[in-house]
Symmetry: C2
Subunit: 209 residues, 2 copies
DNA sequence: CAGATAGCTTACCACTGCTAACCCAGAACG
DNA sequence: CGTTCTGGGTTAGCAGTGGTAAGCTATCTG
């Protein structure tokens, strides 16, 4: 595979290298398990190019991985959005979003970490929405529907969305970080528990057995 | 302050340097905001010593910061444990734990990140419990009391503890990471929302207006 | 065919975690 | 008192990192 050298692209076809770098970066990311463990030189070698060539397309190393992971998440989230447009109880749809979110974290832990588990400084004006903003908006949208359909207590949708997002994000984070010092249930069981708790609470309700 | 040189310790007093290194590491950690941004050389310079001297006391750089942060968390958690022994409804105590946990994340974000926001591989047998294990155990303990006092629905304490821990951890993580792409409420408001949702759920209950 | 330029490479910098080898003041021992 | 031993460091350096400045060259354009 990985050629040690590479034919120079023709004029106007520089984007081919860009695409190849993204692919190589993603492959190395999943192999190594973290962006820190993948060096710019390693990416360059994988595509058969020297490292400064990378900096023609991105200003910083981190930008490469952010782009890689955003692409993967956008693909995922459009799939989920399509599945969630359906009918039925709104809270069921919300549960589906939570399950899908956990599935993404489980299948793409490195991408999840890059997108959701590092500081996000203020996004410049006019920049495309971050993965976090998209995910959050999904939750807000469903919650507003739940309010409209009266499936939800009267709570502020944005604050409540933050609480729910935090809960699911926390569960996904525990899975991604493989916290072996804590008895974390299987991902599927954990997300069901989070859904159950978030929807019905833990308090002994007046009308619940 | 930071002396460029330093009197050599007497025999048997090597631990003085060890303590000074821990203090310098913590100070630099809070100044820089992340452990990655603090180099071993910087710590060494701060205490007036050369960098290999550090490796007399720790095998790896990360071990220094883990120790620094564990000390801080142990101090915090014993304070909370004492406050939580009191009487009153169990769920109120649980809420207090959640608030305290968020307060720790808010006041010591760098420490929180080191302790709870990176992969934790299996702890060697006989090692002291990690901060995560201690925090989790706090939640389990309170939950078992809640079950005993019938303040809680009949749920598996460990699975439920994981869900609650995930929720609080997610909220703290959002705060620590300063997710500026998401409308995260103030820490205090966020933790109240998480508590409210976790205790009572969001679903329109049969007996709630 | 001449010049411009996209698409790279060579060479390098300052810095990182970490190690091997050495030095040396003072405690312990004869 | 003199010698040896050793805890508590230092000097020097390795392999690797992200990133940059400057130059080269194949291709396109006038």
């Amino acid at each position: 595979m990985s050629p040690t050298t590479r034919a120079r692209a023709r004029k106007g076809e520089g984007d081919q290298l860009r695409r190849d770098i993204l692919a190589a970066a993603e492959e190395l990311l999943t192999v190594e398990g973290s962006a820190d463990a993948v060096s710019v030189r390693a990416i360059a070698e994988q595509v058969g190019v020297t490292s400064p060539a990378i900096y023609m397309h991105w200003k910083h190393k981190d930008d490469i991985f952010t782009e890689v992971c955003s692409i993967r998440f956008a693909e995922f989230s459009s799939r989920v959005m399509a599945n969630v447009q359906g009918e039925g109880p709104v809270l069921d749809r919300l549960a589906e979003v939570a399950r899908a979110y956990m599935a993404f974290a489980e299948e793409h832990p490195e991408q999840y970490r890059v997108l959701f588990m590092q500081p996000v400084s203020a996004v410049p004006d006019g920049a495309p929405p971050t993965a976090g903003a998209m995910a959050f908006q999904m939750v807000v949208g469903v919650l507003e529907a739940a309010v409209a359909e009266q499936e939800m207590r009267e709570l502020d949708p944005v604050t409540t969305a933050a609480a729910l997002f935090a809960a699911i994000h926390g569960a996904a984070s525990l899975v991604v970080d493989r916290h072996e010092d804590i008895p974390v249930p299987e991902p599927a069981a954990l997300v069901e528990a989070v859904i159950d708790v978030s929807f019905h609470g833990i308090a002994a309700g007046p009308a619940k057995p």
